[in-house]
Amino acid sequence: MTEERAAVVVRDVRKSYGELKAVDGVSFTVAEGEFFGILGPNGAGKTTTLEIVEGLREPDSGEVRLLGESPWPRNVKLLPRIGVQLQASSFFEKLTAKEQLQTFGSLYGVSHGTAADMLELVGLADKANEQENKLSGGQRQRLSIACALVHDPDVVFLDEPTAALDPQARRNLWDVLRAIKERGKTIVYTTHYLDEAEILCDRVAIMDTGRILALDRPAVLVRGLDAPTHVTLQKGVVPVADAVAMEGVEEAHEDEVSLTISTRRPAPVLSALAERGALDGLQVRTATLEDVFLTLTGREYRA
């Protein structure tokens, strides 16, 4: 990827707070139109990295180019081209969903009609006249994203948009995020949900303790692990001893409800199981980013 086409270029950025190295030599590039995820546990340095890219903080060292320009100090020319979604509560007091959008839109010179149209995109058209504090957590989060998009920016920054949402609300939000990507926006977002990053992102950077541990397409990261595939069956369908004897099986163990087979060659294992007519209720789980994280950091991923 050439840097001229890059929306975001970060080179060896560092930021310390006293002894704490919040961001410790981070470099990455985000292409135009890319959906880029920064993931890692709390305190990994994701938010600080994002704030430096947005121009809210000055890095101690290193260079940031956002759409070819430096975001620090406050670059008024750049601001209309970026959209930043903040906490779910960053709203004006006592205004309805529509009024919030119109007010934020006016900061960018956006007409009231255009602002109100954003409610459609995030599926809040029927909540237009509800006051912000009457909305549910997921609805507020979607409104907050709509506010970040109201001026049709080229690059959108989302800081943990799906945090603290119930599973249904998270999935609704995924649809919104995909819709934004279809509009050709570059999206940089942070999350601590590995499964979500895997589904949504073109590429992910995995961060921990201020550093990027790995950066690539989620599928490439997972494949690079050479982690076994887990095949899970109902308990009792196949005896453990038979399973261990199958071609390609590395390990098999049984608990109260199921039998789990680990293999790096799932094809022969699945055909052997098919021959025995044991495919009912069968589940196949390949390695996930969670496994990537575990391998990279040597510890369990905790969100």
Binding site: F91, T103, S106, Y108
Partner: protein, 347 residues
């Protein structure tokens, strides 16, 4: 839509929809105005009321002068008993040419007043009866003194205080809540100048101050309270606006240090309440001890109060604005400058 206009509308809506703020902006100061206005209404000294038996030219002259009030009795003994019982300070008994005054020994001041007045009228009547031209002439004229009826000083005082409270709390709480909720960050990330954000908030506060002025003066002017405005009442408008800016700046300073809304509210109270008491909100400051009057000179509210009193009820002209306006502008500049130095975008 310009950012300035939309922001002003947004903040006005936020203000109007917040019932707690509405209460503290309008009803709370009005409660003080109503309570003090009613309690202190009859505090001025009444005319002395005495018992009266009989009638005649002296009594008619006394009645016309309006210096005394009479309670008529047919029976002399009943009138005297009123004095003996301590209900009335004196009894005036007229028997033809004879004017007899029975007075209570206990209240010497009031008795002397009654005796003096009655004696004066008797002497005048005697002189008139002789047909001689008077050798000495006595001329008297009313002087408007500085002492005001309670509603006359309460209205300007409580209005200034109400404006100060709503401007200080409005700016401090808005600032802290916007910082905590990252609305400030969002504004910083938008291509909008801080001036238009700040001025739209000040415009709302200024509009509120003018509305407070209209409502408080309107209610105080009701017959039950009896406020009488002087001819130059409209000079209060520039004072209200300058006061809003000064106290808005003070609120920005408070808001720069406070981390939570609760802390901002407490700090604003600590600043505003003592200032209100020492600046003559609830009583005229010229009745306070001399040292307190000097101390109160440091408060902008004291000067706003003085200016309000002068233009609203004392009938002074534009020259009375000079000192209060200078103090408020100076205060706004100094405090506003300090507030901008210590201003923080982020927690």
């Amino acid at each position: 839509m310009t950012a300035f206009k939309t922001l002003s509308v947004a903040m006005l809506k936020g203000f109007v929809r917040d019932k707690v703020t509405l209460f503290f902006t309008f009803l709370f100061p009005l409660m003080f105005l109503v309570i003090f206005g009613l309690v202190l209404r009859d505090a001025g000294t009444d005319r002395t009321r005495i018992a009266l038996v009989g009638d005649g030219p002296i009594v008619s002259a006394l009645r016309d002068s309006g210096t005394l009030e009479f309670e008529s009795y047919d029976d002399e003994n009943a009138a005297v008993r009123k004095v003996e019982d301590g209900d009335l300070p004196a009894a005036l008994i007229v028997r033809g040419q004879e004017v007899d005054v029975r007075y209570a020994q206990s209240d010497q001041v009031e008795s002397a007043t009654v005796l003096g007045i009655v004696n004066g009228f008797v002497d005048k009547a005697n002189l008139a009866a002789t047909g001689q031209p008077p050798r000495f002439t006595f001329v008297s004229q009313k002087v408007e003194d500085a002492t005001l009826e309670p509603i006359q000083y309460l209205t300007p005082g409580i209005l200034s205080w109400g404006v100060a409270v709503s401007a200080v709390f409005g700016s401090a709480l808005t600032l802290v809540s916007w910082r905590r909720k990252q609305v400030l960050r969002r504004i910083r990330l938008a291509p909008v100048s801080t001036t238009s954000v700040l001025s739209s908030r000040i415009i709302v506060s200024a509009g509120v101050a003018l509305l407070q002025g209209a409502i408080f003066i309107g209610i105080a002017s009701l017959p039950v309270f009896g406020l009488r405005l002087s001819g130059h009442w409209w000079l209060a408008i520039p004072l209200l606006l300058l006061g809003t800016i000064a106290f808005f700046a003070l609120g920005m300073l408070v808001g720069a240090f406070a981390k939570t809304e609760e802390a901002a509210s407490a700090a604003a109270n600590i600043v505003v309440l003592p200032m209100a008491f020492l600046s003559g909100t609830f009583f005229p400051v010229d009745r306070a001890p001399a040292w307190l009057q000097v101390v109160s000179e440091i408060f902008p509210l004291r000067h706003m109060n003085d200016g309000m009193l002068d233009v609203l009820v004392r009938g002074k002209g534009i020259e009375a604005l000079a000192v209060p306006a200078a103090v408020l502008v100076g205060f706004s500049l100094v405090v506003g400058f300090v507030a901008s130095r210590v201003f923080k975008w982020e927690e």
